[in-house]
Each structure stands twice: as C-alpha cells, then as structure tokens.
Amino acid sequence: MDYFLQQLLNALAFGAEYSLVALGLAVVFSIMGLVNFAHGEIIAVSAYTVLFAVALGLQSPLLAILLAVVAAGVVAIAFERVAFRPVRNAPVTTGLLTAFGVSIVVQNLFVLFVSPKPQAVSILNGINQIWFVGPLAISALQVMELVVAAVTIVALVLFLNKSTLGLAMRAASRDFATVRLMGVKANRVIAAAFAISGTLAGIAAVFIIARRGSVTPDMGFSLVLKAFVACVIGGFGSLAGAAAGGMLLGFIEVGLLVALPQEYGGLRDTFTYLLIIALLVYRPEGLLGRKVELGDKEI
C-alpha cells in the first residue's frame, strides 16, 4: 500500500510537470500554429538565470523562484520578437524548423559561454524535503509540484474564460482575422500567448532545478520532447488534451518503471514511445483532438 501510494504520487508529479510544459506548447500552437521546439530552452534560460543570479550573490530562494518564472516569461516573449515574428505567416514547417534552430543555438550558447558540463545550483534544494506523515515518507517537492500545477491550470482556465484577452486568445485559436476585426491587437494576443507559455515553463523550471540541483544546456530539450508527445497524445493544439496527455504520460512512465524488470529499465523510453505510437495508430488525431478536415470553414 505504501509502495502503491508512493508510485501514485510519482506518476501524479511527473504528470503535472509534463502537463505544465505541454500546456505551454499548446497555448502557443493553438494561437499561431507554431510548433515551438525552443520551449525547452525557455526552461534552460530560466535555470541559467538563477545560476547567474546565485553567482552574483542571490541568496533568497523566494527571489530565485520569482526570478526563474519572470525570466522564463521574458525570454519567451523575446524569442517571439527576435526569431518567430519573421516567420509568423509562413507555413507550419518553416516555423517548426525555425524553432528547432533557435533551440540548437541557445543550447550551444550555454555550451560556448558556460560549459557543456552540469553546473550545480543548490539554492532551491530546500524545497526538496521528505515529509513524514504517520508511516508514510512523502516527497514535499512532488506534493508541491502537484498543487502548484493544479492551481496554475485553474488560474489559466479562469483567465481564458473570464478576461477579454483570454476570450480573444480562445477565439484567435480558430479565427485570428476576425479577432483583429474586434479591435484586439494581433501582437498583444501573441505576446500574451508567449508570456503564458513562458510562465508555465518557468514554474516547471523551478521544480526541475529543485529536484536536480544542477543545470545543463540540454536540460529542457528532452523534457520538451516528452511534452510534445503529451500534446500529440491529447490532440495537438487542444489545451485540455495537452494537460490530459501530460498526466497520461506520467502514468505510463511510472507504470512502465514499476512493471518492467530491473534489467530492462534502460528501455523505458523505448517502451513509452512505442506505446504512444501504437496509440496514434488507432487515434491519429489524439485522444481529445478534433478531427479537422483541411480547409473546413469554421461556421
């Protein structure tokens, strides 16, 4: 029972992290059709900002958290201004490849100017504690991750349903031109999408730093690959799909970890991806995706 609860919490915490990152991808994709491969580098930039701040004398973990989240939001907007705006109206493939290029550039800038090796960041290690509840040993980090992810998602849903900008973002995911006719500025909607996407990545970054205690140039990349998979499972561009896909991915991974014999542990990724590819054979549009025939007019 103990073991079961522990694994359940594991799955929920992993799932929450994937959901946060996948939601960030989905928000940007749904509005401007950009497959943002550089999303992981938003996480990396956030983490390296904390690294630099600590090197410059930052001591307060609370400030470090704030800094991580703000840096992620700012760098996401910066990516849009510098790299993605020139290809805004280009075909999906062009945007995808641009983002892939941005990702490579940023990763290698850290290699070039910092180091390819992991750099220790211990300022947030305090979050990573064990709570003892009766006979149970619970990871505080995992509980917090779950709670924060849930609160964040609720806040995002409220924003999208209550604020005018949120309404405009939802509307823009289907018909950007008509949203502009309502007097909502295209740049504002897109900047908001990137700010939200970056903030979600920054929140994920806080937990990643706390768990790993170090940063590496490619720390965001592999995570974002999984988040993409979560998006594909859920149906690309669907926000609910991204959140659900992330959760499902967490459960698949932990489930495989439990089910696979020790000597096959290294093959966990292989099995995870194979499972997902198998799923896509039966539901090419994902679990919650709309089956859209190309050229369907929104009525």
Binding site: F29, V35, A83, P86, V87, A90, P91, V92, T93, T94, L96, L97, T98, F100, G101, V102, S103, I104, V105, V106, Q107, N108, L109, F110, V111, L112, F113, P116, P217, L225, F228, V229, C231, V232, F236, Y264, G266, L267, D269, T270, Y273, L274, I276, I277, L280, V281, P284, E285, G286, L294, G295
Partner: protein, 378 residues
C-alpha cells in the same frame, strides 16, 4: 491505405510509354546535379592531402543522408527529424552481419538469435541490411502516412529516440554505448561517389516522376490534389520508404568506410547537421541538398578549426566548444527567415542552366501549375 502504394508502383510498371522520355530527362538531370560533386571529388583526390580525402568521403555520407532526407521532406513538405534512425539501423545491421567472427567474439559474444556465429559477405550483408531498413520503414511509414504534418514530425522524432535508446540499452546485440569495432572496411571514396551519384539520380527520378509531382501537389494544396484523385497517404508512404532506404544506404556505407561505429554518431547532432544542410541548400530540390552539403561542410570544417583552438599571433586560443552548434542553429534560423527556399531556390541545376540559355522561362513546375489552376477553380 498503405496497401495502395504497391498498387501505384505496379501501375508505373505497366505504363512505360511516354514516361520513357521523362525518365531519361530526370536521369540526365540527376547526373547534371551530381557533376559538381564528382568534379570537386576529383580535385580533392588529385591535389589535396589524404586528410581531405577522408573528410570528403564523410561529407559524401552526409550527402547521401541529406538526399534521402530531401526525398521525404522536400516532396511531402513535412519536417522529418528521425532520418538518422535509418542511418543507424543500416550501419548496425551490417556491423552485426558482416563483422568477422573473431571480432564478434570480443564485441558481442552473447548476441541473440545466434548472430554471434553468423558472418555474411559484405555485399550480402548490405543487401540484408537494406531489407531490414525497408521493413522498418514500411512499419513506421504506415503510421507516418496517416498522421498530419506536425504529428508526423513528432513521431519521426519518437522513432529516432526509440532507435537510439534500443541500440544504447540492448547491449547483447548492439554493444551499447561503446563503439562497435571490427567492421570490414570495404568502401573507399570511389564506391562512395558511385553510390552518392546513384542516390542523387534516384531522388531526382522520384521527384520528377508522376508520384513525386502528385505528392508535392498534395503537400501544397491537399484539397485540390484530393479532388484530382491523388492518393496522398500512399505517396507519403512511398516517399518515406525511399527516403529510409537512401538513409539506410548511407549508414551501411559509413560503417563499411570507418569500421567503427557508436550510437551517438547517429543522434541529434547528425539530425541537426543534415537538416541544416538541407535547409541551407533548399529542401525543395535535389540540387538544394547537394548545395547545402557542400556549403555547410566547408563552413563546419572551418569552424572546427577554430573550435579546437587556433593560434593567433603566436597565442594559442582556448577550445571553444559549441561554436559549430551555434552556427548550425543560426544557419537554420537565418535561412528560414530570409531565404526559405534555400540557396538553390526552386529549380534544379539543369533547369537553372536551361533557363540561362532560353529567354522563355521553362515550363513551370507542373505541380505548382496544377495547384494554381485548381486554386482558381476553388
């Protein structure tokens, strides 16, 4: 769906009349594209030191990979990030099949299926390796062909990760992280040149064939192409298999050239590099693939010189790791922003030459014409 592709191939076999001339023209076009490569190689062979011959041979491997990548990506207009998986499969297949028994006893003594007791002639092993690549391409192609552009890209990436992680972790068969050594080194630059030319011609023939045209038309305007009865899924499936086979061939040749392979050679770095080459040259044409490989190979060699620490005015500068990565990424970003059609643009080399010599622009790309015409109607 996928079963319609072989039907299409059969149809092609049944209709030789009329296509004979365009086949000849496509073949000739392919040879024209390969010509600069052959000339460059000849210059290097005659004038340059041995080090550059080796570099040129590795560049030819990249050329074959990029041509393979172009076959799928250029015609279907779907980003493909998993092509290195086929390179890896081709390379490891010949490594397992053709490595001499005494070497295998050292490297993979516990290989399953009795593979540690089998050794094949390099040519036979190569043929079997291509068959393995073809089968895996058919399996993955069935999925890829059904998916939309983005999901297909993600799945191609997932395929790369699955392949890499399998090779890395199934140590009994693949020897894992350590290098797989002792592969017979039976390929030299001449063989490589021959196969590179062959790949270029094959890619060009496919591009100019009815199927290539239809696939490009359907990538540009799915509805219009569907209205003309184009079977987009079957065509994507076919292009994926051809692309996989060419990439697999590159892997086989690479293994036979260097003799030692390891999984990380066929991972993200190779994907990034070959992708940047194709984008820089222009993914719409085979000429673009060739141009990009030549241009970026030269640039990367130059950067590698700086990275390993150059001596300026007697001072040895430190190593600057990551510079080539930054350059590769920047090449992709800048190409996409300023020249999405790449250096070569929309026309093949022979078409550009023909344009130079005739006032009249050549018959515009039929796929574009079809789409344009159907757009008018819609």
């Amino acid at each position: 769906m996928a079963t319609e592709a072989p039907a299409a191939v059969r149809q092609q076999a049944r209709t030789p009349s009329g296509s004979g001339r365009s086949l000849a023209r496509a073949t000739l076009g392919g040879i024209v594209i390969a010509l600069p490569v052959l000339v460059l190689a000849a210059v290097i062979l005659w004038f340059a030191p041995t080090y550059y011959v080796r570099l040129a041979t590795v560049a030819l491997v990249n050329l074959i990979i990029v041509v393979g990548l172009q076959t799928f990506m250029g015609n279907s207009n779907t980003a493909h990030l998993g092509h290195s998986a086929f390179v890896a499969i081709g390379a490891y297949a010949v490594a397992i099949l053709a490595t001499p028994l005494n070497m295998k006893k050292l490297s993979i003594p516990d290989a399953p299926f009795g593979l540690s007791h089998v050794v094949l002639d390099p040519v036979v092993a190569g043929a079997v390796a291509l068959l393995v690549v073809g089968v895996l391409a058919a399996v993955t192609g069935r999925i890829i062909a059904r998916l939309s552009g983005i999901a297909a890209t993600i799945v191609s990436l997932a395929f790369l990760i699955v392949t890499h992680s399998t090779i890395l972790n199934w140590t009994d068969l693949f020897k894992g992280n350590q290098g797989f050594f002792g592969i017979p080194r039976v390929v030299d630059i001449y063989w490589m040149l021959a196969f590179a030319t062959l790949s270029i011609v094959a890619a060009r023939i496919f591009k100019d064939s009815k199927y290539g045209l239809q696939l490009r038309a359907s990538a540009q305007s799915p509805q219009a192409a569907a209205a003309f009865g184009v079977n987009a899924k079957g065509l994507r499936f076919g292009a994926w298999i051809l692309s996989g086979l060419i990439c697999g061939l590159a892997g086989i040749l690479y293994a036979y050239f260097v003799g030692t392979i390891s999984p990380r050679v066929f991972y993200f770095h190779q994907v990034m590099m070959t992708l940047a080459m194709l984008i820089l040259g222009g993914m719409g044409t085979v000429t673009g693939a060739v141009t990009g490989v030549i241009a970026l190979s030269v640039l990367l060699e130059f950067i590698r010189g700086i990275e390993s620490g150059v001596t300026v005015a007697g001072i040895q500068l430190p190593q600057v790791l990551g510079l080539s990565g930054v350059a590769l990424g920047a090449v992709i970003v800048l190409s996409m922003a300023f020249r999405p059609d790449g250096i070569a643009g929309r026309y093949e080399l022979d078409e550009q030459i023909a344009r130079l010599f005739s006032r009249r622009p050549p018959a515009s790309d039929p796929s574009t014409a079809t789409v344009e015409a159907s757009r008018e109607l819609l």
